[in-house]
């Protein structure tokens, strides 16, 4: 069986077999699930469709979360894009809208695809769906892109637990952004090396991101962070497609992220004991929510 332990190995294997990374990944997956490549792709398609459903449900809603902290930012952006000064191209507007739509579906207990986690669920879908619309990429290409994203996450997860509680937000939204950057290179039919360069550049520049959610909820800063890191992924892809390479190879970046995660204070790993969670406002919000919930609402 092909081993997907390091990026170096996978790149080499793909080169030897003259295949794209997604092909190596889907064949490996078929082997471990004891099924066919077609069945693997069908399952990926189901998840891709669930991502699109979340986007399109999210675009129509402004229902707030249970805490009342978030939930109407997508609606505000839609309003802005109807009128007013717009900085972004139509494609970038879509990336932002789709990311808010998805993450807001998540916080209102809607159906989403954890990618790699629920708190970072909007980054990969918003980039793949919006950029595929811009590139006129058909569903087969979108599936290839999503498998490429999955391969990045899977290999990173061999070394680094994809959990804010273990390694901070760099391992959730940071990894999601690298997955999205890789997917975008695949949509534009970049080379295997460019795919890994896009992921490497993205990971490298988000290293050390902490997980400090206000009141312990997947809302502040997670909602806006998904949108920011969706846009950020595009920078990684853009640079890689221009032949701009990461000086540090991706496997070594993942090792460094793991080390940074271990050195990160436990107070900054989802425990809400430092950072934004313990700012004056963060603490006031947490206190108000305790009172609200003790009052039984």
């Amino acid at each position: 069986m092909i081993q997907l332990n390091t990026f170096e190995e996978v790149l080499k294997e793909a080169g030897t077999q003259n295949k794209k990374l997604y092909e190596i990944c889907q064949e490996h997956e078929a082997e471990i699930l004891e099924t066919s490549v077609e069945k693997v792709r069908e399952k990926v398609q189901i998840n891709l469709n669930a991502m699109k459903d979340a986007i399109f449900s999210g675009l129509k809603s402004k229902e707030k979360s249970m805490s009342g902290l978030c939930g109407d930012d997508c609606a505000k952006l839609i309003e802005k894009y109807k009128s007013g000064k717009i900085f972004f191209s139509e494609t970038y507007q879509k990336v932002l809208l789709y990311s808010f739509a998805t993450i807001e579906q998540n916080l209102r207990m809607g159906k989403i695809v954890a990618c790699p986690t629920a708190g970072s669920c909007a980054i990969v879908p918003s980039v793949i769906v919006a950029m595929s619309e811009a590139a006129n990429a058909n569903e087969e290409i979108q599936i290839n892109a999503l498998i490429t994203a999955g391969l990045i996450g899977e290999i990173v997860s061999n070394k680094l637990a994809l959990a804010g509680a273990v390694a901070g937000c760099q391992s959730e939204c940071g990894v999601a952004s690298a997955m999205a950057a890789a997917a975008l290179v695949e949509i534009y039919n970049g080379t295997n090396d460019q795919i890994l360069q896009a992921a490497a550049l993205t990971l490298k520049n988000i290293m050390g991101l902490v997980c400090d959610p206000v009141a312990g909820l997947v809302e502040v800063p997670c909602v806006k962070r998904n949108a920011f890191l969706a846009i950020y992924a595009i920078t990684g892809a853009e640079l890689a497609m221009a032949g701009i390479n990461s000086v540090i190879p991706i496997d070594e970046i993942v090792d460094a992220m793991k080390q940074v995660g271990e050195l990160m204070s436990p107070t900054l790993k989802e425990s809400s004991e430092a950072g934004l969670a313990t700012t004056k406002t963060g603490l006031e919000i947490a206190q108000a929510l305790i009172q609200k919930w003790n009052a039984g609402s």
Binding site: M109, K111, V113, C115, L162, V218
Partner: protein, 223 residues
């Protein structure tokens, strides 16, 4: 034993948000507990510990646990309306919140009452992975990765043999097996994870073993 990672751990699962540990994990614990109990309870009481207690309301952990007990899966959009669903089924529910640092940060004790009573403890391990660690005080390790046979029976010689011999008759391979008991000669428990699935006729044969009090076949979770 580390689970083989798959692509769908990273681009999945499809779940109800907002949190894989505090929402989807809660649903799965409830779901497994409901299957182990084996009927829709008339009353259910949840005691949430630590992080589950502290942030549970904002993550819908309460709705997830209750919805799961009532048979809703992690991607069922009715989880959000679990309280209404419970009222419709005439299920009384109650939540308690506790802080106990001897307990896992995301753990819950579930007390179920129906035609009989049962106590189940579960923990949410992150990324939607869960484990049922106790049933009526007996240690178990049920995570939904395999079809799992749950047995509670009289503690006497030959019981493990009788059960495994029946599995052998069906050519079923045991992946893992855990046994526990309360006191010598009283009651004991077995949790057996199987490669493949358990046929109905095997369950009937297991029920015929003298001294078996409870049998459940907990099917692998859809992941």
């Amino acid at each position: 034993m580390e689970k083989q990672k798959t692509l769908f751990d990273v681009i999945g699962p499809v779940i109800i948000g907002p949190s894989s540990s505090h929402t989807a994990g809660a649903v799965r614990i409830g779901y497994l507990a409901g299957k182990i109990f084996g009927e829709i309870p008339q009353k259910v009481k949840f005691r949430l510990y630590n992080s589950f207690a502290k942030t549970g309301k904002g993550h819908g952990t309460d709705k997830g646990l209750l919805g799961g007990v009532l048979g809703l899966d992690v991607d069922n959009e009715n989880i959000k309306k679990a309280f209404d669903y419970a009222r419709k089924l005439n299920v009384q529910y109650e939540f308690e919140y506790a802080n106990d640092h001897n307990r896992h940060p995301n753990s819950v004790d579930i007390h179920l009452e129906g035609s009989y009573k049962m106590d189940i403890t579960g923990v949410s391990l992150g990324a939607g992975e869960v484990c049922i660690t106790k049933i009526n005080g007996y240690k178990f390790n049920i995570n939904g990765d395999y079809d799992t046979l749950v047995l509670i029976y009289k503690d006497k010689p030959g019981m493990v043999y009788k059960v495994t011999a029946l599995l052998q008759n069906y050519n079923l391979n045991i992946a893992t097996m855990h046994c526990d008991r309360n006191a010598k000669g009283q009651e004991a428990s077995m949790g057996i994870c199987i490669d493949g699935s358990l046929p109905e006729s095997l369950l009937t044969s297991l029920a015929e073993i003298d001294g078996v009090y409870l049998i459940r076949n907990i099917e692998v979770l859809k992941k």
